[in-house]
């Protein structure tokens, strides 16, 4: 899995590419942990290039969202589709996260 980072208007945009499964989730966890410990408070995760996610990936996202929330931070999600979107729907995550059709919409909401 690839994790690409970009900063726009003080918002960190994390674009995921490939598969976020039990094998790759620990790397993603570490990455998020180090970003949050560096003080990042506004995150958008862009899922447009993510092909697959399992419960291990959802666990990473939920754990970071909890941590951000506890520190007055925010996490918005953008561009979920296909099997990834379905997994979010089945898990109920689609209702508990703020999800946007495009990264631009998420960015507007954040700034």
């Amino acid at each position: 899995m690839e994790i690409n980072l970009r900063k726009e208007n003080n918002v960190l945009i994390v674009t995921l590419k490939g598969r976020l499964d039990a094998v790759t989730a620990p790397d993603f966890d570490k990455k998020l942990e180090s970003l949050l410990s560096e003080g990042e408070k506004a995150l958008i995760i862009n899922f447009s290039e993510l092909e697959y996610i399992s419960s291990a990936g959802l666990r990473s996202i939920l754990a970071s969202a909890k941590q951000l929330k506890a520190n007055d931070g925010r996490m918005l999600l953008a561009e979920l589709k296909g099997p990834v979107k379905e997994v979010f729907e089945i898990s109920g995550f689609y209702s508990i996260f703020k999800i946007f059709g495009s990264e631009a919409d998420a960015l507007n909401q954040m700034t």
Binding site: V23, R59, L62
Partner: protein, 138 residues
């Protein structure tokens, strides 16, 4: 019912990708749609990861994966000789809780139950036998 493939590997996370590929290859050859393939992929990962994490706390062990088909079903049987564990007995998580309340974890088994058309568990000869069934009719 026809046995299509049968493989046995150590129940280690590093074998996930290879086992997933073996299962999805069989499913594709059986003519399942892409949507059903992703469902099988997810359910299989969740079941295998549980086994790799919990079945063998003290020693290394193996997982046996069998793919079977009949006219209307694609079936994956996942067998381990580890600690007795019936995933079908677990309660479903409350998926309406918000981010702060929602426990981290507990979704894997829920996915298996939601996505597969049938999930069966049996304990036989000191083995856990988990059967995942998907209707292959289009």
């Amino acid at each position: 019912m026809k046995l299509v493939s049968e493989i046995k590997f150590p129940a280690k996370l590093e074998n996930l990708e290879m086992l997933v590929q073996s299962v999805t290859t069989c499913a594709r050859e059986h003519g399942l749609s892409d949507e059903k393939l992703s469902g099988i992929e997810l359910a299989f990962e969740e079941a295998f990861v549980n086994i790799s994490q919990y079945a063998y706390p003290e020693q290394e062990g193996e997982v046996e994966v069998k793919c079977k088909t009949d006219d209307t079903h694609f079936i994956v049987e996942i067998i381990d000789s580890g600690v007795q564990f019936d995933i079908t007995s677990l309660p479903d998580p409350d998926i309406t809780q918000d981010i702060s309340e929602r426990p981290v974890g507990g979704l894997g088994v829920f996915f298996i139950k939601k996505i597969m058309d049938e999930v069966h568990y049996r304990r036989e000869d000191n083995k856990n036998i988990l059967t995942l069934v998907i209707n292959s009719a289009k």
